[in-house]
Symmetry: C2
Subunit: 746 residues, 2 copies
């Protein structure tokens, strides 16, 4: 193990220590008045109740999947015996990160509201550092898990001369991502349904029927709504990016092991084990350095009293941008130190990934912020009623999907070209796939601080809610409002970033799927692996295996099974988002019924004399979310396995690319349409096109409500779908390879 | 030329003669009162004005494309010299069909209203036979064009021993489809924007602001609205299915020429020229027989006075179903007569295609008719306001896309398996692709009568509008209402059928794209074509060429250019539908302004004393449609060429499958969501959930307005996009093969 590898565990431990430090610092702050304490307590209890319930379901699912993996590994022998354990560890660490992150967020919000009684800077710093707990715990735990497994497997898996040891190690570690994926599925889908059922339900009865403002303590669903912000936007987003971070690093490690196992096509010289090891640890090191830079970035976030919205945004931006800029420099140094062949090209791929992330964030901002034309046009269409608001929002959302798709297309093409030294030939394929993986790692490298800005949003939002419910003074409200508005901006770009990184991660996972199948082929067809330099028809062994693979499985576009697979992938995406969309409607309906019941049966509730039964609403949203997430989860987990059983590898590859491409587009469409509707409403509230209370305002409120499940449930759930389907295919590859009905038999 | 081929021109001429007969018969009917005559005249003039304007644009575009084709053919030599002429003829015949169909429809509607003054049966028969003019003209002109070209090219293209003559003939004839595609693009996109700009504009000012009913002669946009029904639903739908009918036959002919050119993999015997010829004319014969059966079916449609909605539906259904049942029998006889190898399997593919068409129609009905749960649930969600109506409509629409996708997946798989005799191996690929083409032909075989039921809808709708505007008695109105309601049902299933057949046709075209590239490869790489039986690595020449093709262009899913292409295909779909969606919004806004202006400046207009300036509204909608269709048209025409220039054949194949799969899903989503909203509104109007005038009703009206551009503009325009992109790729294949930047050079 090269010495520099130890940077990974060290940075992991540092990230966790700083997270603990920020947490302790936050806990030392005063929680404010008795009322503030009580409200915060309600939210905290609700969030814990939700998490407990979710973990119960998750444990059952993990139990079942672990048994399946054990059968595949020990019974059928189509999987490595380490796989079940790696799977469990990924799920466990992801769950732990969600637990800590949400604890920190729910402890923080009351304290942030209290800090805002004194100063804006104090509030911002406290909120941001509490968000940083989530950010650093996520990256820290991912790197801990990676380090520990890498060290263990390096000890236990026997050395081979041909470089297959590292292939095996990285393949096992990838299963760790499957655990994180499964955990994220429940956190994102369940959390997404929870938060919007509570939100839509609270609004429909509270705002519309009873005419009481948002975040009013008389509304029984208001605590559930606040819990939802934590459940969906902290725990859900965290689990989503935990998985992207882990999967991008692990997939790239596998792709590195594969690419640098054979011979250099230019010189026909073997790379050797050192080069291969360096290619495997390169993504880990980049992530480790990005983590250290994220910690440094967190300390850069501060502001001064009376800061404008723009200055606040600048404060956050400084931390993120400085980290991103420095990772460009440091990743060059790392790659130089590792002396990978064509390291400048690989470094180019990292930069491309970073730029793509920024570009997607910018395009999200353009299409959703009220400072730009698209959202203003949606606001303008409110003059002809809600129908035109919806039409123009859908039109804008659909159009907006083209930009991130274009960015990803350019990013893949350039990352591939850079990493292959501008060579599209099949001999260089492995290097290009590694380049795509490295680009994903580059995009996610500074996740520690990016995620901190994401988790900051719901904390500020809840702080505002707390201040509102406790009737704090107007100067406090104006401070929490400023923090909350900032959170809305970061939430929109954060969503774009989450989707973009999910797509790139999924593509890296798809590439590692190819490598896994190739390894299976080597195993079952007994292809030459002893001497990677042995030439077959002018190709080295590895390239020949790839050609064999393409042939054997006919994963080309003339094979109808591939086309069928692509259709099924698109089908899964539409089905999944349709189901989650309808799930919100059903769960919200239950919430509406409950709030109506409480208004009717609890005397004095609307006069503020009796306390509503908050816990009952939390429970209803929790149960609704748990029930509704079963069907979409089964869709996501079973479709890849069923397609593999019927159509084999060709069908599965088609399925995956169909899911990734259309899922990415639909997710962007939904997130951007939802964000634009939200901000069009705010734009009207600022006094444009009739202002608050006008008919136009009512039209935009309808748009905003429609946008809620778009941007917070169905859209983000698609991130999980596209990664999970690939992950599930990767870990069940043995089924598609060995037990397919229509596919070629081995 | 085998004698049986002459069935094709004969049935074509018969179809045209019967169309002419139905037209004369209709023209002999009385147009009714002076007022009825005048209203019909307005609509007729408006429709003609629109068509004239559209043909002006189309002529310019055809001129430009013809020049490009001539350069490719005569200058660069990458295309056959016949191509420009075939292209022009396709566009010309499609335009002619649209012209006749719309003429018949606009002459008929007033006469149908008048016939309804006497009896329901008279009205139904007249409306249906006038619709049949469109249906029979479309299939007749397609078959005329095919017959003439086949006879001419058979004369002029020199005989070869190896079967390349028929490949060349069918490849040239396919360009005829490109002409039809281009014409359809303008008819469907322009017509779609026109009809919804007029509809939404008329509703927003007339119904909402001025409070006058629909189809009120005081509304200046009401004539434009009625014109729109003809422009969008008669001419647009006709051009769309003209293209599907032509392209499915021609693509299948090409696939037949390719499949039966080599040797039978089972016996290794050459097929011979007779078999190849029979495979080429088989799809033409099936279409010809289907056309004869359609004529017979038209005569079966009749009803009796006081028939219920169900009985009316049954009357139409009888004609369609009997034709469909008989084609199952006759196509078996034809294939038996042609003695194609595995003719039972090929017949199976035809049946699969027919069943898939019926299945997609049924699923459309389930998801959009108010007799079933999904639409009722949308209606129920009106109780919590318009936002939940939109959310549940989107949820239902997204979910509903899964069913037709599933049907197409099963259909492709079975058609392929049947046509190959259950053999997925690459040697049998050609036969499987032929099977997919044959399934498309089967689905479309009885288009004559299916299209008659589609064109019937707007005729009945306009007859209702005429009766309303002229204040005819209640028993007349109830008859036209019954006919109109029937038209709404057929419109929904008709849309599903149009999308499904477009998807299957596009897949057949994609298969012929592969064959075209293979031919290019044979030409440029000088692959062995003289002796099809020559074996290369155990494959016959043709299979070897395919393997070479897959290799040479790397159209496998590990090639990032393929993946990039798929992403770009999805991007094109989202971009195109976003642009068309926004186009309706903008064009409707112009209409709103104009109607408001007329209400303000023309004295006595709302009192019914002064006639509004109908022509001005028609002109505004026409100009708006023409302007707005330019950008999406350029997207559709240029993207395949640009992708070909940059990413070559691999990128283009990815592009096409990405477009077809995601475009199909999005089109179904939009059509079904739109149809369900429409019928949810009608369901509430029937007295459920508060009935007409309630808050719930208002909520469903908003849903219905949102659904208008969904189901009548963006959704159907996607049918064109998916076919046109493949067509454009097929006819510019030389560019991707020879002049690609990143693709392999020849």
């Amino acid at each position: 193990m090269p010495l520099i590898f130890w940077l990974v565990p060290v940075s992991a431990v540092l990230a966790l220590l700083f997270a603990y430090g920020f947490f302790r610092q936050m806990m030392r702050q005063d929680e404010g008045t008795e009322m503030m304490r009580r409200i915060a307590e309600h939210v905290r209890k609700g969030a814990s109740a939700y998490l407990r319930q979710q973990y119960k379901v998750v444990i059952v699912v993990f139990f079942v999947i672990t048994i399946i993996f054990s059968i595949l590994a020990y019974g059928l022998g189509v999987q490595n015996p380490w796989v079940p354990f790696a799977f469990i560890s990924g799920g466990f660490f992801s769950g732990l990160a969600g637990f800590f992150g949400m604890k920190a967020a729910t402890y923080a919000s009351g304290r942030v509201a209290n800090a805002c009684r004194k100063s804006l800077d104090g509030g911002l710093r406290l909120a941001f550092r509490s968000g940083a707990v989530m950010g650093l715990v996520v990256v820290g735990l991912v790197l801990v898990d990676i380090s520990v497994w890498f060290i263990i497997l390096n000890q236990f898996i026997p050395e081979t001369a041909d470089g297959y040891k590292l292939m095996t190690i990285t393949a096992v570690m990838l299963t760790f991502g499957m655990g994180a994926s499964t955990q994220a599925l429940f956190a994102r889908v369940g959390g997404g349904i929870y938060t919007k059922a509570a939100d839509v339900g609270a609004d429909l009865v509270g705002k519309v029927e009873a005419g009481i403002p948002e975040d009013d303590p008389r509304n029984p669903a208001t605590i559930a709504d606040n819990v939802g912000d934590n459940v969906g936007d902290v725990a859900g987003m965290g689990a989503d990016l935990f998985e992207s971070f882990a999967a991008s690093i692990l997939a790239t490690a596998l792709l590195g092991a594969a690419a640098f196992m054979g011979a250099d096509p230019a010189t026909e010289q073997l790379f050797g084990l050192d080069v291969q090891t360096n290619a495997v640890i390169a993504p880990m090191l980049i992530a480790a350095v990005g983590t250290l830079l994220s910690i440094a970035g967190v300390f850069m976030v501060r502001t001064r009293e009376g800061a404008t919205q723009k200055q606040l945004l600048h404060s956050l931006g400084t931390g993120v941008n400085v980290s991103a800029f420095l990772i460009v420099i440091f990743s060059f140094l790392i790659l130089y130190y590792l002396q990978l062949p064509n390291f400048v090209g690989i470094w180019g791929a990292i930069v491309i990934g970073l730029l793509a992330g920024i570009g997607i964030g910018q395009s999200t901002e353009y299409f959703t912020a009220s400072a730009y034309k698209p959202t203003q046009r949606i606001a303008a269409s409110s003059q002809t009623g809600p129908a035109t608001v919806i039409i123009s929002g859908v039109g804008t959302g659909l159009t907006s999907a083209a930009v991130p798709l274009g960015i990803i297309v350019v990013a893949i093409t350039l990352a591939f070209l850079f990493a292959t030294g501008f060579n599209f030939h099949v001999d260089y394929l492995n290097f290009g796939l590694y380049g795509i993986g490295v680009a994903a790692v580059g995009m996610l490298s500074t996740l520690g601080i990016t995620l901190a800005t994401d988790a900051y949003g719901p904390i500020a939002d809840n702080a505002g809610g707390n201040a509102e419910m406790c009737g704090l003074g107007p100067e406090v409200r104006s401070r929490t409002d400023a923090l909350d508005a900032l959170g809305n901006t970061t939430a929109a770009t954060g969503k774009g970033f989450a989707i973009g990184s999910a797509a790139l991660t999924a593509l890296a996972l798809l590439a590692s799927y190819f490598e896994e199948v190739r390894m299976m082929l080597v195993k079952f067809l007994d292809l030459p692996k002893g001497d990677p330099k042995r030439l077959i028809n002018g190709l080295d062994a590895q390239d020949a295996q790839f050609v064999d693979f393409i042939h054997h499985y006919e994963i080309h576009l003339m094979n109808p099974m591939v086309i069928v697979g692509i259709f099924l992938g698109v089908m899964a995406v539409f089905l999944f988002s349709g189901i989650t969309m309808n799930a919100v409607g059903r769960a919200a309906q239950k919430m509406v019924d409950e709030v109506r019941r409480q208004f009717k049966t609890i005397d004095g509730i609307l006069e503020g004399e009796a306390e509503p039964d908050y816990a009952r609403c939390v429970e209803i949203s929790t149960k609704g979310a748990q029930r509704e997430m079963m069907v979409p989860s089964l869709v996501a987990l079973l479709i890849p396995v069923i397609v593999g059983l019927i159509f084999g590898v060709a069908g599965v590859t088609g399925l995956l690319i169909g899911t990734i491409s259309s899922g990415f587009a639909l997710a962007i469409f939904m997130a951007n349409a939802g964000g634009a509707w939200d901000n069009a409403k705010k734009y009207v509230e600022e006094g444009h096109f009739g202002g608050k209370g006008s008919e136009g305002h009512k039209a935009t409120i309808i748009g905003d409500t429609v946008g809620d499940p778009f941007k917070d449930t169905s859209g983000p759930s698609l991130n999980i779908l596209i990664k999970l389907m690939v992950m599930a295919s990767v870990v069940t590859v043995g089924i598609a390879v060995s037990y397919s009905l229509l596919g070629p038999s081995l």
